[in-house]
Every structure is written in C-alpha cells, then in structure tokens.
Amino acid sequence: MTRALWLFLVFSSASAQTLERGNGPEPDSLDPHRAQGLSAQQITRDLYEGLTREDARGAIVPGVASAWTVSPDGLLWTFTLRPEARFSDGSALLAEDFVYSLKRALSPATAAPYAGSLLLIAGAEQRLRGQPDALGVQAVGPHTLEIRLHRPSLDLSARLSLPIAMPVKRSCVELHGVQCTRPGKLVSNGPYQLAAWRPLAYVQLVRNPHYYQVEQVKIGAVRFHVTEDAAEEARRFANGELHLTETIPPGRLTQLRTRFGTALQVAPAHGTFFLGFNLARPPFANNPKLREALTLAIDRARVVSLLTGTGEAPAFGLLPTELGGSTPPVWVGLSGSEREALARAAYEAAGYSRAEPLEVELRFNTSALHRRLMLGIAVMWEQVLGVRTVLRNEEWRVFVQNRRARVVTQVFRGGWNADLADPLDFLEPFAPGQPLNASGFADPAFTAQLELARAALQPEARLQAARAAEQRLLGAHAIVPLFHYTSKHLVSPRLGGYVANPLDHHPSRYFYFRDGATP
C-alpha cells in the first residue's frame, strides 16, 4: 500500500466516528506471535484473525477457516479456508501462510511467550527445542490446511483462535524484520489494519477494506489509549474522552455505580484468585491438617463483600460456574461457627494452638487490593486460630521469581485468568514440572485424571475428569480458592454491541455507535 493511500485512510477514517478505548499498559508487541500482555492481545484480535475466532460472548466460531473436519481418531484436523480471505494489502491469504506462521510461532528464534499453547501439534515441542523435525502442519491445497496432533484433543479449535496461531505475511516479516509491525508496513488479515502507533500514548486502527466480512464492521476507526492508571482512565471516561475503559479503579464500585449507573458493566470472568502453600518446605510440607485449618478459617463471603467489593463470587474450587463449576467441599453448607470449629480441630491436629501459634509469612505482589485482602485474611486467621501472620509485599518480578523458586515462600498470592474457555486451562498449571506450579503439587492420581481429561473426546467426559483432578488438588489443600474474578468496564451509553465475555475479550468488530455509525 502506498504511503499516500495509507495516510488517506488514516485521516478519512479518523474524521468518521472513532471508538476511543482505554487499553491498560503499552502493548509489548503487535506481532501476534510475540504479544504477551492483555493490552497487546486486545489489539492483535482486531488486527488479525486465526483459522477460528471468538464471537462477542467468547464462543468459538469459524474464522478464516469456514469449516473443518476431524478424523475418527481425533489426530488429523482438516481446515477449509475461505477463498475470499485476504491480507490488508489485498493479496490472497492461503493455507501456506498458516504453515509459515505456525512454524514461525514455534521457532525458538521467535521466542513466542504463548508457544506452549500449540504443543499439542505433532512435532511442535521438538521444533520449539530447535530440533528440525517436521511440524505436523501442511497445506494440501491453496485453501486446505491439515494439522496433525500428537494426541487427540477437543480444544484445538479454541487454541487456533489465540494470537499465537494468527497468520502473518511472510514477505512483510522477511522484508522489514522487527519493523514489520510499524504503520505503513504491517500487513494483517483481520477486520482492522494499523494506521498509527504512538508509543506510550495510543495505537490507532482503521477498518480493513479487504476483510472478507467488512460489511459487518460498523466502526471505521479505533484508538487504543494507554491507560496505566485506573483512576486516570475513569476520569477520561467521565470527561467523554473514552467510550470504553479497560477496568475501573479498585474500591469505588458503589461510587461509580451511583455516578455512571448502567454504564458500569460488571460480569463474571474466567479467573480465580487463590492462595498457594509451598509444599516443599515447613511448615506446610507434609502437614495437610495445617493447610486444611487455614483453608477453613477464611470466610469467603466476607472476603468478597468487605475486601474486594466488585461483584466477585466466592470460590470453593478453581472452576468458575460458567465452565461447569467445581464440586463444593462438604463444609460449604456449614454455618460459620461450625466451619471455624472444624478449622480449630484441624489446627490442633496439626500441632498448633493459641498457646503455641503458627507464625507464617504471607507473600504478595504490590497492589492496594492485595494488601487489603492479605490484611483481612491475616485478621481472620488470627481471630479463628490465633495465627501470627507476617505480610510480605514484593514488586511483581521479584515476587514471581521467589514464588517459582519455592525457596523462601510459605503462603503466597496466586491467581489464574484463563486463556481458553476450558476447565483444563485452570488445571494444567498444576501439572508436575509446570513453572506455574508454585506450590510444588505432585500427585499421581491428579496427573492420571488430567491425562484422562486431555484425551477425552466428549465435553462431558472432559469436564468429569477435570473435576476429578481438581478434587485431588483441593483435597490435598495445596491451594485455597477465594473468589472468582469479574470483568469491570465503563461503557459509554453511545456504544452498542458490548456483551459480557467471560474471557474479557472485546473485539472492536462487534461494536457500533447507537447514534449512527458511519459505514
């Protein structure tokens, strides 16, 4: 595309109604294979489209692939690409482009943070480790792509909607290298294309005229603003500078509800906040009764009503209700005093009492919300059991380094936001050898159930095996689920098309202005 045409598109589209969105921190990359942060992925979902994509509510629907079939053994997936699919420069998007892109995503030189999401493809792990084995991806025609897996899996279609599996144009990458994501150079295939990028300020997109469903894209231009401070973002929304915020300031739900009414949208999200125990060292190594006592001593209802206060639901397991939910523990139905009595009994069985209390360190990363939460939990432990808790606040990178090392931690803050609407996405991090398994949990029965869930070819069987695996994790009291996250946004009354999405993905293609968008 010539620079003159590109500039014309920028200013002609910017003169139309532009969707102004708060997007959190500066995106780390607009290369879909290198993008890691949520802010970057929100933009790449507008710029690119994979073989599949999410609808407004997060369900998987056909993307560039109009249809696919799966072999009876579940190992061979065959995708039929839309012949009308194009890149933003007008060139055809072919199966060979996906072959190139998937190989690039799994190349060690690319150093893709989410490459692990594609390891179910045959040869993927070997390729990622630098071994020149053939990857199980091939183009059997210009519009037919075959992907071979090394084990059957139900969730390939969901994984192919992730940015890591989105196509990039080979000639653009080879010509421009790291600069292939610049305005005027970036070639994408999604509903939008890149118009401007001012680092630490904003990214501007304009509608891609070559997108195969361009008539469904109502808003001509989108500007993603860097909004690192939630209070600043809310102020900009109040001033009419933003139509949609990325989040809301913590602890101000009532105030925001009063001021903005239905513009404040709070909905359940696929994420769970939990505390983890370091099972590798005292006092929690080989002491399940102690872990049980601390688990029982926390009143989750009070946590979500007094400490978080943004519509979270108490969590007694990892799986959110929208993903099938967890089997609640037997003590959930007990009264508060009964639960606390059980906690004290477990505490004494573990060898502790008010006369000889536990002294424990509770570690968390810097956040006003986390500090409030940990303080509240420490108070509950002290009131119910007499535990003396030392709160240790660490900066994020120091915190994750210590948590992963399992050398100094005792109890630590944990949490998981799902990448996929799949129960296994919550349990895979606890598999042995996983770097996210900060507790060091290892249980052969858990691993066996996890394997059963992975191999299940029916959703119900997958869920049942996942629940069974989760019961092993919760029964060992390796973690203490506290609440399920919510998504929180301020949405301008002018903006239509916003629907709750548990994965908190909101592609701009689904939005429109109620007062009449310029087509």
Partner: protein
C-alpha cells in the same frame, strides 16, 4: 588555559562522568532481583537462551557494558526489552520532546510570573504584601505535584471541560497545557522565594544605596540595578531544580498519561528494561551536563566576575 584546551577538558570530563554513570547503573540493574524476562509464563530453555542471546543478558558485566558503549557511540542504544517492536532510540525520540516541552513551558511560565511578584514584594519589604507573597510561595512549594496535577485535571478538564484530562490528543498543544501548569505551580513557589531572597539581600547594599541617593526612580532602580545584581544568585539556585524538571517529572507524566522521559524511566525500572533504563540515564545525563554548562555560560554573561 586556552579556551580550546578548556573545552576539550570539559568534554572529556563529561564523557567520563557519563561512563561512570552507565557503569554504575548497569551494575545496579544486574544486582536487582527479578530479571527482564521473569513473568508467570516461562519459556522452554531453548527459547530462554534465544532471548538471552538476542538481548545480551547472557554476557558478563564487562562484556555487556563495553558492547553497550560501543553501540551507544554509534547512536544505537539497543532494542527495548519490554517493547519488542521498538528500539530505545525510537522510544526516547518520542519521549524527549514531550518532557522538554512541558518542562520548558512550565519553567518559563513560572519564572516570568515570579519576576513581577518578587519585585512587587521587595518594593514593600516587611509589609502585608511581602508577607502574602511569602505565604503564597510557601503554599505553592508545599503542594505536591500528585495533589496539584489531579486537581487541575478535575477543575479544567472534568468540571469546565476546557482541556483534555489526560493522554495525547488533537490538537497536541491542548494536551500539554495542564501538565505544564502543574509543573509551573511548584516552580513558581520556588522562584518567588529565591528571587525575593536574592533581591532582598542586595536591597541594602552600597551600590543600591548609592543609586537611590542619585535619585533614580524605583522602577529604574529595580530593573537596571537591583535585578542584574540579584539574578545570577537566583539562577544559581533555580537551575538545579530546573534540571529536575527538564529530565522528566514522573508524577505529572503519569497523572496526565503523557509518554515522557519520567514515565518511561519508571516503566523501564518496573519492567527491568535494561537498555531503556540505560538510555534514559544517558539522555538525562547529557541534559544535566548541558544545562550545567549553559548555566556557567549564562552566569558568566550576567556577572563578569565569574568569567574567569
């Protein structure tokens, strides 16, 4: 000593200062816990090795420092660790004009406003006017930027709707007004205090009494005699704080969402973006040295006694 020799000496001294600064910063960065690629998700060892090779984090301290200096001399400040699509030079080229703009506008506004206020107060020393000016100066100096900046945004952006509350918009100048004003308010308090003190210290000097005895008007006395004598002293106190403003106010840039040097520095530290941090330190070091030299030249122009 000839001027050329002195210049060479100063340049070598500046280069040595920057070198030591960078060496110290790199040593600190490597000692700080938590690496640039420490996150929840950890790549396989082969990918980690590729990242380390790409960014040079697998090198020893002296190798990393020498490589960085060699590249920096050629104008290459390296790739950003955090923002993979940009080089440090590109990001700094975006950030520096923003910081210098709001800093320069803020300083000029503060100093030009402080001058008539200080002159008015010194014309009536000991009276209610001087006391009010001193009170105003104290109030402005003790109001932190993280209070004044949001208040300005609330009044002028949210309540009155005259200006944007944050971010960079069109036209650009509107986005710079409130940040500049926020910086100006603190500097105004300091400038009033310093100017007033400098003027007051000269007020009863022999040269001023002699000028007064010759029957000069108050206006001529202030502008032709009092101010030229007091200005060098005032500048010597004001310019160091001006350097702090010109190298980036992280608070103001954060509140107003501006992509300036201060905010870039804070983000680079949190992200362990080694090259970005070193780049900001380099640029800030150059600004400090350049402004210091400019101060010396300016003082020499204003006060011939300092030219030696």
């Amino acid at each position: 000593m000839s001027l050329l020799l002195k210049l060479v000496q100063r340049l070598l001294g500046a280069a040595l200062t920057l070198l030591l600064l960078l060496a110290f910063c790199l040593a600190l960065l490597r000692a700080v816990p938590g690496g640039p690629f420490d996150g929840e998700r950890i790549a396989v060892p082969e990918v980690q090795a590729a990242l380390a090779a790409r960014y040079g984090t697998d090198q020893g301290y002296w190798q990393q420092l020498s490589q960085y200096l060699l590249n920096a001399v050629r104008g290459d400040l390296g790739p950003s660790f955090q923002y993979a699509d940009f080089s440090v030079s590109e990001l700094l080229a975006q950030a520096l004009p923003i910081t210098l703009s709001i800093g320069a506008i803020g300083l000029l506004t503060a100093w030009l406003s402080a001058l008539p206020i200080a002159l008015l107060a010194v014309a009536h020393p000991g009276g209610w006017l001087a006391a009010s000016v001193r009170g105003l100066s104290s109030g402005l100096m003790s109001t932190p930027k993280f209070v004044s900046a949001p208040m300005l945004a609330l009044v002028f952006a949210v309540w009155l709707g005259w200006l944007p509350s944050a971010g960079l918009g069109e036209p650009l100048w509107q986005s710079l007004v409130l940040p500049s004003l926020s910086l100006a308010l603190t500097q105004l308090g300091l400038a009033i205090r310093v100017l007033y003190g400098a003027l007051l210290s000269v007020l009863n000097s022999e040269v001023i009494r002699a000028a007064r005895a010759r029957g000069l008007s108050a206006q001529r006395l202030q502008w032709r005699h009092l101010l030229p004598i007091a200005l060098p002293t005032a500048l010597a106190f004001l310019l160091p704080s001006a350097i702090a403003v010109l190298t980036g106010s992280a608070v103001v840039e954060q509140v107003f969402g501006l992509p300036g040097l201060g905010r870039t520095l804070v983000q680079a530290a949190l992200n362990r973006d080694y090259t970005m941090l070193l780049g900001v330190v380099t640029v800030s070091g150059v600004i400090v040295l350049a402004v210091g030299w400019a101060l010396e030249l300016l003082l020499g122009l204003l006060d011939p006694r300092r030219r030696q």
